[in-house]
């Protein structure tokens, strides 16, 4: 009988081994898959029962905070700034997941990513056991006052504004219309959340899409910054080669004619071409440079790459590959002026401006300034790093001269951005997206001699070819943001803005 009793022991051991195997499967092997299951709300509900760190603007305004509640999800997320910072902070919804800084810095905000430290005090030990107070807060580089300036500048129009510190890559402002109030998505009442989500998704323009870093538009003439850099980097003789004065350019291997904007005629050396944004001239330069040089320059400026941004899913800006131009020469001419298959996000165009402003170096764009712990001590600070060497310092300074001319020259397309006492360097863009539709751009930095801020503004899909151009619509917005950042009275600026409007309407801006 003892043999069977031992057999019984063996049998029960085998049953228990089966349990251990299954537990290993569930808790280790299969864990991630189960955690990712959409039906699994346990993780989210659990995380809702814990506090979350705050998100604070660079100028000290609380953008996101957790408020204790009495219901099952113990903390309610609140966004005191409402829709102003939505594109940056995102939201943290227990039904619709999370986005923006809430998603990207989730580990920091929940305290899960903080390195394990042995507690040094009794309260430290208590924190370790209770897991309630190791959340960390993040301070952004984005400024509340600059967001407000961007919002005021857009004045309700759909469009995006991205402002960077060219020397560090710090995002100073990032605002797009249409926007929405994230508070609706984080309510603890599922019906409220669903209704808010429905209203947001029903809004034309898709506010959830975060256009500033997730949508691409034809940059149009704003891309001439890159084409001009390519000239100095790859074939400097083209800079001094005068281009004929034309109203249209007959493209090779085809009967297609490339017309200047609004039937104007222009020509001359690169400074003249750049100042008035001459399409025929730059198209010719593009054909002379060739597809390879243009492509190399575009990729060194960050096209065809996903920018290393600290927000979820930044979009890749497009420049066609060299092989795609083979047997289709005319498209090189169009790509050189930012049309055809060239598409860029507002963030990318801000980086293009910042590259010129920062002596050819593109710093990694980021919104994170520093991380503070629950005792309000700074635990880490973002360290700026170079992303790309877009061009040389000497090319950058030459292109700066061109961009200064756009604003300072009487026939420049960007005179609307003139600021008394401050030299602004800029490039306009008015990309045709349809017969009577344009994407209006303004890419600028200032002061030109010692750049503190680089801005890109896009107002997509405008209908009036005369009044809606990069230089008329987008330039004043960039100007407002620059003035605000550099601390200049806005009243002074607006008078010079209106005064110069008439002089820009006749300019060809591509």
């Amino acid at each position: 009988m003892n043999r069977q009793i031992r057999g019984l022991g063996l049998g029960i051991s085998i049953l228990f081994i089966a349990l251990f195997v299954q537990l290993n499967y569930l808790q280790v092997v299969h864990k991630t898959k189960l955690a990712a299951n959409p039906l699994n709300r346990a993780t989210v509900i659990n995380s809702y029962t814990l506090p979350r760190g705050n998100i604070i603007s660079a100028d000290g305004v609380t953008l996101a905070t957790s408020v204790p509640t009495k219901d099952q999800l113990k903390y309610l997320r609140e966004y005191p700034a409402g829709s102003l910072f939505e594109e940056v902070t995102g939201y943290y919804s227990y039904i619709y997941g999370s986005d923006g800084a809430e998603a990207y810095y989730n580990g920091v905000l929940t305290g899960k990513s903080s390195p394990f430290k042995l507690p040094k005090s009794l309260s430290g030990l208590k924190n370790l056991l209770t897991n309630t107070n190791d959340t960390e807060s993040i301070t952004l580089t984005v400024l509340d006052k600059l967001q407000k300036a961007a919002q005021a500048g857009l004045a309700g129009r759909d469009g995006s504004v991205v402002a960077l510190d060219p020397k560090t890559g710090a995002v100073l402002a990032m605002y797009s219309n249409p926007t929405f109030n994230p508070n609706g998505l984080v309510s603890h009442n599922p019906a409220t959340v669903q209704a808010a989500y429905k209203a947001i998704t029903a809004t034309p323009g898709g506010p959830l899409a975060s256009p500033a870093y997730r949508q691409i538009f034809f940059p149009g003439s704003a891309f001439k910054i890159v084409t001009a850099s390519a000239v100095y980097d790859h074939d400097p003789t083209l800079a001094t080669k005068p281009q004929p004065v034309l109203t249209y350019l007959k493209l090779p291997d085809t009967t297609t004619q490339l017309h200047n904007f609004a039937g104007s005629s222009c020509g001359g050396q690169i400074l003249a071409l750049f100042t008035v944004s001459c399409d025929t001239g730059f198209a010719k330069i593009g054909l002379d440079l060739g597809a390879k040089n243009l492509y190399d320059e575009a990729t060194s400026f960050g096209f065809d790459q996903v920018p290393p941004f600290d927000l979820p899913f930044p979009v890749k800006s497009n420049f066609p590959t060299v092989s795609s131009f083979a047997g289709n020469l005319p498209t090189v001419a169009y790509s050189a002026i930012g049309q055809e298959n060239v598409e860029a996000s507002p963030l990318e165009m801000a980086l293009v401006g910042a590259a010129i402003a920062n002596g050819g170096k593109i710093m990694k764009p980021h919104i994170l300034g520093s991380i503070t712990n629950s005792q309000n001590q700074v635990v880490s600070t973002y360290k700026p790093a170079v992303w790309l060497q877009a061009t040389s310092a000497s090319t950058a300074s030459k292109v700066t001269t061109l961009m200064e001319s756009v604003v300072s020259s009487p026939d420049g397309t960007g005179v609307a951005a003139r600021i008394p006492g401050i030299q602004v360097a800029a490039k306009t863009g008015t990309a045709q997206t349809g017969t009577h539709h344009t994407d209006d751009w303004f890419v600028a930095f200032a002061p030109a001699s010692n750049p503190q801020i680089a801005v890109s503004v896009v107002i997509p899909d405008q209908g009036d070819l005369v009044s809606d151009q990069g230089g008329t619509l987008a330039a004043p917005i960039a100007k407002t943001v620059i003035e605000d950042y550099l601390g200049i009275e806005a009243a002074q600026g607006s008078s010079s803005g209106t005064g110069s409007t008439s002089s820009t309407t006749n300019q060809a801006t591509g």
Binding site: Q4, I12, L23, Q27, A35, N40, R41, A42, N46, K126
Partner: protein
Amino acid sequence: MIPVPARRRTELGLIFLAVILTGGLYALAGFGKAGSLPANIGPFLGTLFALLIAAHIALRRLAPLADPILLPVAGLLNGIGYVFIARLSPHEARLQTIWTAVGIAVFVGTLLIVRRARDLERYRYMFAAGGIGMLLLPLVPGIGEDINGARLWIHVGTLNFQPGEIAKLALAIFFASLLAERADLLSQGTKRVGRFLVLDPRYLAPIVTAWGLSLVIFLAENDLGSSFLFFALFIGMLWVATGRALYLGVGAALFGGGAVLALKAIGHAQTRVQAWLDPWVHAQTTGYQIIQGWFAIANGGLYGLGPGQSGAASIPEASTDMIFAVMAEELGLLGVTAILIGFLLMVGSGLRIAVRCERPFEKLLAAGLSLILGVQTFVIVAGVTRLIPLTGITLPFVSYGGSSLLANYILLALLLRLSHGAESEARSLPVAHEPLTARGADR
């Protein structure tokens, strides 16, 4: 004065350890849930300690040579169970404390009444009738009650009771005495038909009877878990008694066949099996419980979230059937592995007692009681982790439930009584608790 055998000193030390571990866990759970020590941690630990010490003193007097591991491990599991019940439902935790006290009282009572395990053999048919009666009691109109689709409960006044928990002990005693007497017959029950050896139908009668009874439990009470436990107990003991592997095969085939047949007839069991086979299809209905359990277990990972730190509210029946899932979420793989090893230790100690017993009845009874503990733990944990269909039986000593605690403390008392008997005989000492002369003479 009676000298204290080394075994009891070991037991006392282990009881201290069990109370310290439970206290630590309770403190952590309090911090995890509310950020402070639980208000009743002092009284709770005091009560647990006092109850275990009472059981320990009873063992010193009544069964001094009994195994030293079983009581502390049971106390630890009981304590851990309380911590998790308290974390889920403070009301149930208060009741659980009362049931623990009643359980220890019954434990001492069992040791007092059953002075020699073999005396139980005399009341064989009383246990048989009592066991079967209790199994069928929930079917009596007026006192039986359906809870969650299974008819396992009786209620008298405000008191609810699951008689099946006690019935399995009575039946283990009955099987042990029956098989101890008939083992030889049953082990030779073949006859030759042509060229084949087949089982003599006469010897198949007991197994068919047991099968029929388990099928009745299954059909009438919709309880796959108890039905399986009861049948596995019988087949397991039959095999231990006879050594004929054939019984295992026939038993498995009969149970499998019966289960398939019964499934076609019973809605409740059917939905449970469907929920087992593909819970994702029924994720919001019948599969909800098992899927929430899985999510919780997976969420625990290797180290767990920490006591008191999970959501836990999303799992239905969290304090009874699904308590293991909550433990897996908060204690992680490492924690629940330790708990399962605790059960394995108890089963192993029980089987060692079976090996050391001299008489077939005692061997079979010890093996049967250990089998109950092992199989019941397996059935519920495997159900929660979806190795087998989930059934509503309790995790011994851990789950909330009075009848379950009571039955398991009786089981514990019987195993310890058997252990004391075996050790006494091994030393040629009188089985009853005459004063011992040799100090530490149990090596």
